[in-house]
């Protein structure tokens, strides 16, 4: 459970909001709030993770500072979300990675990238790594297929387990019943809301981000990022099927399904995060949790680096740079997977949990 002070502030703010209710037109948080008369720790943790940070309610609020009520919903919720990611992280001994998160992400990325690259050079020798490899199985001449699979899938699967443990604990604490988490219609609704980023549209006109103007910029950049990531994942999945089911080895043709998916997705995870970073630069920080900006920036850069190295690998796969690029790309992807449960990626998990809960509540 997040810190008492953070929970207390969120409850204080929700009690004021619940007596006002002017913001009910903005997003799911307010109808969910309306259903409650008092707010438990779990209630505010749920509402905080349901909040997409569109900031509409902040700029419309008659009680923001300097008013003595000092209401700042997006900030109170962002702080609580940050603590959610930390406190539901599993195993608990890694919670510390959320303090100074950017520093840790940078360090882990650097270490893993160097380790993989140096490792490949040492094991395979510079001649192999810097040689030109073409045709079927070209990548695997630099790094054997099994090595890639084990290196990448181990942290990926571990992240999946860590997130499931965190989500189950979170679900229990926000008052969800065990069976409801997997209820198909609620899941479909939640995935739909997440897929469309419905609540990043605020009341339908977009976020008040990066300033008090209504804009779809953040929603679109975030959609590019998320769908880019999903397409990259789809590319890998299709390639896995190609490899194991059909016995077709990479690299694949430029117009093959994995390459098309990966290219479009790669562009998404570069352009989307760049858009988000640019908006962040000029954003009004009053409605935000400035203590955790580093976590956001680190994650966005990790995505950008993943995308750029992946695209570079595609472009230069028939040159002598391929071997080094493959090693660097693998190192960065590895770092991304390793740090998934201990960085911004956690938001997707708890946001989805909150959306599932909201899908249940909406039907009541």
């Amino acid at each position: 459970m997040p810190a008492t002070e953070t929970l207390k502030e969120a409850k204080r703010v929700m009690q004021i909001c619940n007596a006002c209710r002017y913001c009910e037109g903005y997003c799911a948080v307010f109808p969910a709030m309306n259903k409650r008369l008092t707010f438990s720790d779990g209630d505010v943790t749920y509402l905080a993770n349901l909040c997409h940070g569109c900031q509409g309610c902040y700029y419309a609020c008659q009680y923001t500072p300097p008013h003595e009520f000092m209401v700042n919903v997006p900030k109170a919720f962002a702080e609580l979300r940050g603590e959610t990611y930390r406190d539901y992280a599993w195993p608990g001994m890694f919670k510390g990675l959320f303090e100074g998160n950017a520093k840790w992400i940078a360090l882990i990325t650097l270490v893993l990238t160097i380790a993989v690259t140096v490792g490949v050079f040492v094991v395979q020798g510079a001649d192999v790594v810097t040689g030109v490899h073409t045709g079927t199985g070209a990548f695997y001449q630099v790094i054997p297929h099994d090595v890639i699979v084990y290196l990448a899938s181990a942290p990926f699967l571990f992240a999946g387990v860590a997130f499931i443990v965190g989500l189950v604990k979170f679900w229990r604490d926000i008052g969800g019943k065990p069976g409801e988490l997997l209820n198909p219609s609620a899941l479909i609704q939640a995935f739909k809301d997440a897929g469309q980023m419905k609540y990043m549209a605020g009341g339908g006109h977009g976020c008040n981000y990066p300033n008090d103007n209504f804009s779809m910029g953040r929603r679109h950049a975030h959609q590019m990022t998320m769908w880019g990531f999903i397409l990259c994942f789809a590319a890998t999945s299709v390639a896995t099927v190609y490899h194991y089911v059909f016995g077709w080895e990479a690299p694949y043709d430029y117009f093959s399904i994995p390459v098309i998916l990966g290219t479009v997705g790669g562009i998404g995870i570069v352009i989307g995060p760049i858009g988000l970073l640019m908006m962040k630069k000029t954003a009004d920080t009053a409605p935000q949790d400035t203590k955790r900006t580093g976590m956001d920036i680190a994650f966005l850069w990790l995505l950008i680096l993943t995308g750029i190295t992946g695209l570079a690998l595609l472009a230069l796969r028939e040159t002598a740079a391929m071997g080094t690029l493959l090693a660097v790309h693998l190192g960065i992807v590895l770092a991304m997977f390793v740090t998934f449960p201990y960085g911004k990626m956690a938001h997707a998990v708890y946001r989805l949990g909150a959306l599932i809960k909201f899908a249940h509540e909406r039907r009541e």
């Binding site: 007596a19 009910e24 700029y59 419309a60 500072p65 008090d212």
Partner: protein, 446 residues
């Protein structure tokens, strides 16, 4: 805002003088939630028809005929395009939702409420090239006979003389000016809470009355409701309201009841309780409920006082415990059991106690007991400037001033002599603001 935008659109150069800073700009409109306007069919923002005749009937009822009927009619007819006009200025509305206080058919709700509306207005004004000065207070209106010549504006400690060909006065009422309130209410005004902007001190109105403008409305006429006694002195807005009165026994500080708490459904009685409380000693009262009623009304911004005994609660509230216990004992024994229904007058009443409680009377007997202190919260005042259909300000000789128009709360008393129906203030402001802007621009350009 509507006057400035309209005048600018007609080609006038416009200076807007705002006494608040950017955070608190927009006067009491910052606290509003919706606009009541006439419409013949449902739209994206309202659930059904609310025609001019129905609107007229409603306002005649709440004002008890204390109005300028011709002007009221005119305002209502003209209100039919308010929402379209506001949309054209970039103001956003929300679809009618469940929590809209039973006004979903008659009123269109601003997305996020009045501050959201004001943000859109100010953006539109900046875009249109209207000059805006903040933290600048008009202290005096200078006139030469029936002609406006200049406004004396204080900004940053300095007094400036601002000349203009025409002026639109939209400076609100005087509810934040306790000394002025005392003229109508006496010393008890010290204990009133002001729900809206602390900037509404009525300096412009006072100056105009000193200049010989014709007043309309009585100095003690205002919209006032019962709000939590712990609310801020100013700017508490909507969230401080207390909705539990109909389920309560309401006592004064001596522990005595003073009015039928269950007279009618709450929205209809919302506005009388401010005045009722203002007549009690120290202008304070206490709404007492037991655990049966918790959750039946809108949650409150402050936690109620709570105790397992009535005497314990009385002590916390600072009410004479012995009398309060006796009052509630008498009340309880007078309750005639019936079928309780929280959502409509249920006929559960008392017999043999004065004053009686006509509905929702249930024994206060199930601890824990809860109590809310209640004070009068003044929303806006009605004493203002008399205007005609063109929003022109009348002078005491019965002739309109040459180049002065008024809009909003400063002239709302023309239509609202007393009483109120939610969202009417916005309609008055918008309709007369646009007319004032139009007329002022035309006059200035001639």
């Amino acid at each position: 805002m509507s006057a400035a935008l309209t005048a600018r659109a007609r080609g006038a150069s416009v200076l807007m003088i705002e006494s608040a800073n950017k955070d608190l700009r927009g006067g009491n409109s910052r606290h509003v939630r919706n606009i009541r306007y006439s419409h013949n069919a449902a739209t994206d923002y309202v659930t059904g028809r609310y025609d001019a005749d129905e609107y007229f009937k409603d306002l005649m009822r709440v004002t008890d005929g204390n109005t300028n009927e011709d002007l009221m009619r005119f305002m209502i007819d003209a209100s039919d395009d308010c929402v379209d006009w506001m949309l054209s200025q970039g103001i956003k509305f929300q679809p009618p939702l469940s929590g809209t206080l039973g006004l979903a058919r008659t009123n269109a709700f601003f997305l996020g409420g009045g501050k959201g509306m004001m943000n859109a207005y100010f953006k539109a004004a900046e875009k249109a090239g209207i000059d805006i000065v903040y933290e600048a207070e008009v202290e005096k209106i200078e006139m030469d006979g029936a002609r406006f010549t200049a406004a004396m504006v204080r900004q940053g400690g300095e007094l400036h003389r601002v000349e203009a060909r025409t002026v639109v006065l939209a400076s609100g009422g005087f509810e934040a000016n306790i000394e002025w309130l005392k003229e109508g209410w006496g010393e008890i005004a010290d204990n009133f809470l002001v729900r809206g902007s602390p900037m509404n001190t009525g300096k412009v109105l006072r100056s105009m009355l000193d200049n010989g403008a014709k007043p309309i409305g009585a100095p003690d006429q205002c919209h006032a409701v019962a709000i939590d006694g712990r609310a801020p002195k100013f700017d508490g807005g909507i969230s401080t309201r207390i909705d539990c009165v109909i389920f309560s026994v309401v006592v004064n500080k001596n522990g005595e009841r003073f009015y039928d708490e269950g007279e009618d459904i709450w929205p209809k009685r919302y506005a009388i309780w401010g005045r009722l409380v203002a007549k009690q000693p120290d202008q304070v009262a206490y709404a007492v409920i037991d655990s049966k009623s918790m959750g039946l009304f809108m949650p409150t911004v402050y936690e109620p006082f709570q105790s397992d005994t009535l005497s314990g609660l009385a002590e916390q509230l600072g009410v004479d415990a012995e009398t309060m216990e006796k009052t509630i004992e008498d009340f309880n024994s007078a309750v005639i059991p019936g079928e309780f229904n929280a959502t409509e007058p249920d006929g559960c009443h008392t017999e043999g106690v004065e004053p009686k409680k006509s509905n929702w009377a249930r024994k206060i007997d199930t601890p824990p007991y809860y109590g809310y202190p209640v004070r009068m919260g003044i929303t806006f005042t009605y004493l203002g400037l008399e205007v005609n259909r063109q929003a022109q300000v009348f002078m005491n000789d019965g002739k309109p001033a040459e180049n002065i128009w008024a809009a909003g709360e400063i002239m709302a008393g023309n239509i609202l002599g007393q009483g109120y129906a939610g969202g009417t203030g916005m309609a008055i402001g918008n309709v007369f603001g646009r007319i004032a802007g139009e007329e002022a621009a035309r006059h200035a350009r001639n």
